[in-house]
Structure formats: structure tokens, C-alpha cells
């Protein structure tokens, strides 16, 4: 065993992408096992590797961790991305839970039926631009520091960057009214470990396509 964390998931973003971001930002090398056929999933289920029979699952420090938040919390704490005390942690948690909610909206977009897609998209972008981004714009503007919490890089910064980039994939000018987020984006993207993750050839996954999804549904829902 290499000692590196090993991620078990589909070859795509989904619920594992945030974890890839966190590990990459912490400069932690990781390996991946991709589920490509239904048997890949059933094998993991049968050998007891998946506590609730679901992925994501991450082999790390002798554990087979499941549940996205449990994994993200563990990695964030281990690699000092979770603030220095309880008060910072709760701020980070509030921000990050809001981010998970927006992320969930993005995740569910691709599975919307054709006749609901347009309305869903409008609602999704409306939430990004009126519910979530204004909060983070204000937080950064009010304290004038480089990072969301405690004047140091935390998972909140990493997860926000992840979200901003995803939102921009759907609407390139989504940050038009958010000058502070624009400089945040540039600044965080330049952190060496993150810059590296944003380059071609990294383990960052591309946006999911309708084709990928149709393929996955065929394999896993058969």
C-alpha cells in the first residue's frame, strides 16, 4: 500500500470533487479507483468496504471513510484547513454548508427532465447570484482580508473557489457584480497547490456531460 489516500468513485466530479479539491489544496497526493462497471460497485458493497453501500469512499489512515462531510471534515482538520478554534470552525461550517447547498443545486441540474431544465437553471443561477455569492462578497469586503475566515487559507476558501468556477462554467459572467469575489478568485487560484490542480493533467475532473450521465445511469441503475 502506498500510504497515499485512495479515492473510490466514478470517473467524474459528483460528490467526490470537493474532496479532490481539499486534498490537492493541502498538497496531498492521492490515488483513485474508478467505478466503471456495475460489478465494481457491487464488489465494494459485498466486501464490506462501503458502510452504507455508497460512494464516495476514501481509504485514508487505515480507515475506509464514507459520507462526504465526514471525509471532508477529517481531511480539513488533519491538514489544518478548518480554522484554529471552535468559533472559526463554526463560521467555516456555516459558509461551507451554504456552499454544499449550492453545490447540490449544480449536481442536480444535469438530472432534471428536459421540460424542467430551463426553470431549474434560472432558479439555480438566481440562488448563486442572490443568495450565496452576495454573502461571501460581503464577508470578504467587511473584513478586507484575503481569506474568508481567520486570515488564513481554509476549506471555506477552497470550496468557494470550486463553486465559483463551476458557476462560471454555466454562466461566464456570473461574477460581474462581485468585484471582491473576482479578486478572491484570482488570488486563491494562484496559491501554488491550487494553481497546480487547475492545470491540465491534474486529477481535477471536467464538467459532466449528458452523455457521461446517460452512460453512468445505464451501468449503475441497470
Amino acid at each position: 500500500m502506498s500510504g497515499k489516500p485512495r479515492l473510490h468513485y466514478f470517473n467524474g466530479r459528483g460528490r467526490m470533487e470537493t474532496i479532490r479539491w481539499l486534498l490537492a489544496s493541502a498538497g496531498v497526493e492521492f490515488e483513485e479507483s474508478f467505478l466503471e462497471k456495475k460489478e465494481d460497485l457491487t464488489k465494494l458493497q459485498k466486501d464490506g468496504s462501503l458502510l452504507f453501500q455508497q460512494v464516495p469512499m476514501v481509504e485514508i489512515d487505515g480507515m475506509k471513510l464514507v459520507q462526504t462531510r465526514a471525509i471532508a471534515n477529517y481531511i480539513s482538520t488533519k491538514y489544518n484547513l478548518y480554522g484554529k478554534d471552535l468559533k472559526e470552525r463554526v463560521l467555516i461550517d456555516m459558509y461551507v454548508e451554504g456552499m454544499f447547498d449550492l453545490n447540490e443545486l449544480f449536481l442536480m441540474y444535469i438530472v432534471q427532465p428536459a421540460d424542467k431544465k430551463e426553470e431549474y437553471f434560472a432558479n439555480m443561477m438566481n440562488k448563486a447570484e442572490n443568495r450565496y455569492f452576495p454573502v461571501f462578497e460581503k464577508v470578504l469586503k467587511d473584513h478586507g482580508k484575503d481569506f474568508l475566515v481567520g486570515n488564513q487559507l481554509s476549506r471555506a476558501d477552497v470550496q468557494l473557489l470550486e463553486l465559483i468556477l463551476m458557476a462560471e462554467e454555466y454562466k461566464p459572467d456570473v461574477l460581474a457584480n462581485f468585484p471582491v469575489l473576482q479578486s478572491f478568485k484570482a488570488r486563491i487560484s494562484n496559491i501554488p497547490a491550487i494553481k497546480k490542480f487547475l492545470q491540465p493533467g491534474s486529477q481535477r475532473k471536467p464538467p459532466v456531460t449528458e452523455e457521461d450521465l446517460a452512460k453512468a445511469m445505464k451501468i449503475f441503475r441497470s
Binding site: L51, F52, Y74, M94, G98
Partner: protein, 229 residues
């Protein structure tokens, strides 16, 4: 201000109930303000109290905390219900993730159409008995201790008891194949703070009814059909 945490939510379970359970389990007295009208909600919004325009919101330790998971993690850490180290915390987080998912199926239940309710009931029972309960049954059986993690009472125990009772409300004999969970239920229910919370007159909320659904829909202007996913 009294110094006690103050909970802002509807007069019903929803996403606030786990927070009530955890505060009660920790022996922390709390106050509640119930949202009954749209006006109250708009006042909270205009006052900037709701970071993402949503409830639950809890005023605690000088903060206006939002996001259920953030609030629960804070309370758990503050009152020593979050394990003694990182590995125990990871276990607790994992188990909470499971009970959270299970209770999620139940939380949307009152908002479903009559036809969807029937289907959802079957889903709840199936998930409880084949995916979630077996996990906790095995955990308890394997280590033989009184609590899920670290031989100490934690958030995970409170959350599991809450989930068990909620599923039993839907199917009273659902624990029949789970002797460890039956013993667990009896044991955790008799912890003094929890026993008190389970007695009539506590701040525990009853099974949501149509009045609760109407209130939520009215206050949030949430008139669309809710579909199970």
C-alpha cells in the same frame, strides 16, 4: 437577553428537531421563537439575521448561527459530545451522515401527496431495515459497548435514538430484527436529560401534521409540489 440559546423555526420538527434533541441531551435550556406568519419571516430577513435567508437559526454565544449541520457540530463540540480525537470525530461524522440521510426521507414525508406518501413509507422502512439499522446494530454488537463511539455518550447516540423513534412512529415493530438497537434505545432513553426530553411537556415536537405543513408553506411561500427523489 437571557443567555440561553434561542431557536428560530416553525412550531414543529423539521430541521430544527435534531438541534432540540442535542441541546436537551446536553442539559442546555433553550428558548424558542416560532415562525407563524410571513411577516415574522420577512422581519428576520430584513434584519439580516438569516445568512442564507433560511431557518433554522439559533442565537447562541453572541452569534446568529445558521445551517443545521454547523449548529449541531458547534453544540456537539461545545458540550463534549463530539468524541475525544480526530478519529472518533470521523466515526461520529460518518454515523451522523447515515442517520441524517435516513431522517431526510422522513422529513419530506408530510409534504408529499397521499399517493407518494404510501411509496415513501415503504422506502423509509426499507432503507431503515436494510441499509441503516444493520450498520448500527453491527457497530454495537462488535464492540459490545453502551455507546456508538469511544465508550462515551456522543452526538451519534442522540441522533440515532432520534432516528429510531421517528421510524418507529411509521412502523412500530421496525426494531424487531435488531436486538442491540432495542437495548440501545432503552439505555439511551433512560439517560436523565433524554428521559426528561421524552416526557410530555418538554420542547420535543410532535409528528408533523397538516397544520405544520400549511404554516411552512405559508411562511416560506413554498407552494410547489414536493417530490421524493
Amino acid at each position: 437577553m437571557s443567555g440561553k440559546p434561542k431557536l428560530y423555526y416553525f412550531d414543529g420538527r423539521g430541521k430544527m428537531e435534531s438541534i432540540r434533541w442535542l441541546l436537551a441531551a446536553a442539559g442546555v435550556e433553550f428558548e424558542e421563537e416560532f415562525l407563524e406568519t410571513r411577516d415574522q419571516y420577512e422581519k428576520l430577513l430584513q434584519g439580516g439575521s438569516l445568512m442564507f435567508q433560511q431557518v433554522p437559526m439559533v442565537e447562541i454565544d453572541g452569534m446568529r448561527m445558521v445551517q443545521t449541520r454547523a449548529i449541531l457540530s458547534y453544540i456537539a463540540a461545545k458540550y463534549n459530545l463530539y468524541g475525544k480525537d480526530l478519529k472518533e470525530r470521523a466515526l461520529i461524522d460518518t454515523y451522523i451522515g447515515g442517520t441524517d440521510d435516513l431522517m431526510g426521507f422522513i422529513m419530506i414525508f408530510p409534504f408529499l401527496s397521499a399517493e407518494d406518501k404510501e411509496k415513501q413509507l415503504a422506502v423509509i422502512v426499507q432503507k431503515a431495515t436494510s441499509r441503516y439499522f444493520p450498520v448500527y446494530e453491527k457497530v454495537l454488537k462488535d464492540h459490545g459497548q453502551g455507546f456508538l463511539v469511544g465508550n462515551n455518550f456522543s452526538w451519534a447516540d442522540v441522533h440515532l435514538l432520534e432516528a429510531i423513534l421517528m421510524v418507529e412512529e411509521k412502523k412500530s415493530d421496525v426494531l424487531s430484527g435488531f436486538p442491540q438497537l432495542q437495548a440501545f434505545k432503552a439505555r439511551i432513553s433512560s439517560i436523565p436529560t433524554i428521559k426528561k426530553f421524552l416526557e410530555p411537556g418538554s420542547q420535543r415536537k410532535p409528528v408533523p401534521d397538516h397544520k405544520y405543513v400549511e404554516t411552512v408553506r405559508r411562511v416560506l411561500r413554498m407552494y410547489y409540489d414536493v417530490k421524493a427523489n
